[in-house]
């Protein structure tokens, strides 16, 4: 039983890590064919992508869209959760349902709906349009996480602050937000990740200023080269580094 469990664990780790390992190994492949036999190692694909202006711009675009859309989703979700946690609004179950609804819809549908609406009103595809779409998908997430972490204790602290004379914004700024910091951070982090890696909305709602996933998609479709592997590896290593840093700092205190 015990041996079986560990064997299963290792097998699953193997399955889960296999594509990543292959990806990284073949990013050092010397020929253009990313299949065995391995004839590397070379760093030329890394040199190539670092010199690739479009790719680097896409990376910055992705960062920008992810940062801003996550921040907007976070603020909107935080305010909505605070409002709903505070008073029993008429129809608050319905409001919660509406706010959560986009979470249960495929991204493709959200993208298509926005694409048609932006077309109809004459808004061109752009990073802003993409960001708007990313807020739509991340708002429910942020709202749900924050709302779920607003316990009785939180509500009472907010009431106490009001009782002591705090105006509404002071309650949110001095009490609510700092108390919810771990959830806010978790929500932001998750939203950031989702936006950063989102493809279909960005694909349909951008044109020239594309995000990284879209740029990688075009790379895949415009020439066979291990540069794709190199991009994938870099994204992976940088993200893992960030996750590790967060793990060791922000989330350490929260325990398992």
């Amino acid at each position: 039983m015990r041996v079986l469990a560990w064997a299963y664990l290792l097998a699953m780790f193997g399955f889960i890590l296999l594509p990543v390992v292959v990806l990284i190994v073949f990013s050092f492949q010397d020929s253009r064919l990313p299949v065995p036999p391995f004839d590397g190692p070379t760093l030329r694909w890394y040199a190539e992508i670092i010199a690739d202006r479009a790719l680097m711009e896409a990376l910055m675009n992705s960062l920008l869209v992810a940062l801003i859309s996550s921040a907007v989703a976070l603020v909107l979700g935080f305010l909505a959760a605070s409002g709903l946690a505070r008073v029993l609004l008429p129809g608050s179950a319905l409001i919660r349902g509406v706010l959560i609804a986009p979470m249960t819809v495929s991204y493709l549908i959200i993208a298509l709906g926005l694409l048609q609406m932006f077309n109809a009103v004459g808004l061109r595809p752009s990073l802003v349009a993409t960001g708007i779409g990313h807020v739509v998908i991340n708002l429910p997430l942020c709202f749900a996480i924050i709302y779920a972490s607003m316990g009785e204790h939180q509500k009472n602290a907010m009431r106490a602050a009001r009782d002591l004379g705090a105006a509404e914004w002071q309650v949110l700024w001095h009490v609510s937000a700092p108390m919810l910091l771990p959830s806010l951070a978790a929500a932001f982090f998750l939203a950031f990740t989702f936006s950063w890696d989102e493809f279909i909305i960005a694909f349909l709602l951008t044109r020239f200023d594309v995000t990284l996933p879209v740029e990688i998609w075009s790379m895949l479709r415009s020439g066979l080269s291990p540069a794709t592997n190199a991009v994938g590896s870099i994204v992976f290593l940088v993200s893992v580094a960030i996750v590790l840093v967060l793990e060791l700092t922000l989330f350490r205190r929260r325990g398992a």
């Binding site: 020929s31 253009r32 064919l33 299949v35 690739d52 202006r53 479009a54 077309n119 004459g122 061109r124 044109r207 020239f208 075009s218 895949l220 479709r221 415009s222 020439g223 066979l224 080269s225």
Partner: protein, 327 residues
């Protein structure tokens, strides 16, 4: 300043764009598409001024002009005199005496294969793909016009005769071709499949598929079988409503200049013959060998143009294609 171009993937190569960008201190924004219908759909959703130039199959220029997407070009400023005459395709790029596009690159959709794994003699007939010998080793290029054209040729139907009635005839062979094949894929996926040994034959392939991989796998080869092949010829045009007509024209001139032509012929996504003969002075002998520069006259004589369907036939073709993908 920006120039917005709607292109096939070969125009995304920085080696092609950067010299122009530097010379004119502009930035060329490109958006890739594959297949005329997709390009026209993109234009449909755009507003005037969104696009400055577009790359489009020469035979489809009429479809674009008909819907008012293209702006006239000053024919006298274009180096068509230096072109291979067979690919100027005046009939298609000029409508009512007005020139709307200029061809820029050409090649063939026929059979590409791995000669280490395939009997090259078999490739002299399209029929080999239906013979059962290569079942499971075939890939289909995912563009309905050339592949339907090839299936038609196999059935003795010329591309210009590929109408709704003819489509009915080729349904059966198309479906059995699908059954014999392993995958249906776009440019790069097709290249990958052939280069990595995933498949041995690609119908719809040609130099555009093998040339770029010559260094990686010299066994990749292509041929025009006895039934004939399809000539692809892409052209470049100015989009109606552009706010930078001069710059757009400069870009078209650059692409059709000998230097531009040479770079385009050997761009990273796929290689293809330049239409401007003067590019021969810029290309190396090795490159010209890979492009089979000297064999073009013979090839051209055996190739037919893409089918040019009307709207109803186009829909029927797409439906047939979707059906093929789905079965």
């Amino acid at each position: 300043e920006d120039l917005n171009a709607l292109i096939w993937c070969d125009h995304a190569d920085p080696a092609l764009l950067e010299p122009f960008e530097q010379a004119h201190d502009v930035r060329v924004n490109v958006k890739e598409y594959e297949g005329t219908a997709a390009g026209l759909t993109l234009l449909e959703q755009s507003r005037p001024g969104d696009w400055d130039v577009m790359v489009i199959d020469a035979v489809d220029v009429g479809r674009a002009v008909e819907r008012g997407f293209l702006a006239p070009l000053p024919a006298d400023q274009l180096p068509t005199a230096d072109f291979f005459p067979e690919v100027v395709l005046q009939d298609h790029t000029t409508i009512d005496g007005q020139t709307y596009a200029v061809t820029e690159k050409f090649g063939y959709n026929t059979l590409a294969f791995n000669k280490a794994k395939v009997d090259a003699a078999d490739m002299e007939s399209l029929g080999a793909l239906w013979s059962g010998k290569y079942d499971g080793r075939i890939a289909i290029y995912d563009y309905y016009l050339p592949v339907l054209g090839l299936v038609g040729l196999q059935d003795g139907i010329a591309t210009k005769d590929l109408d709704a009635a003819a489509l009915d005839k080729i349904r059966e062979p198309l479906m059995s071709l699908k059954a014999a094949s392993r995958q249906v894929s776009d440019v790069v996926a097709s290249q990958t499949a052939l280069a990595t040994g995933e498949v041995d034959v690609l119908i719809g392939g040609g130099e555009w598929l093998t040339a770029v991989l010559n260094a990686e796998n010299p066994d990749l080869d292509w041929t025009i079988p006895k039934e004939g092949g399809l000539l692809w010829a892409q052209s470049i045009a100015m989009v109606e409503g552009t706010e930078r007509p001069e710059l757009a024209l400069e870009f078209i001139k650059y692409i059709t200049s000998p230097e531009g032509q040479a770079r385009l012929a050997t761009s990273s996504c796929y290689w293809g013959m330049p239409v401007n003969k003067m590019a021969g002075d810029v290309l190396t002998d090795e490159q010209k060998a890979i492009l089979r520069w000297d064999d073009q006259a013979e090839y051209l004589s055996r190739a037919q143009l893409y089918p040019v369907p009307n709207a109803a036939t186009d829909t029927a073709m797409q439906d047939l294609w979707t059906e093929m993908l789905q079965n």
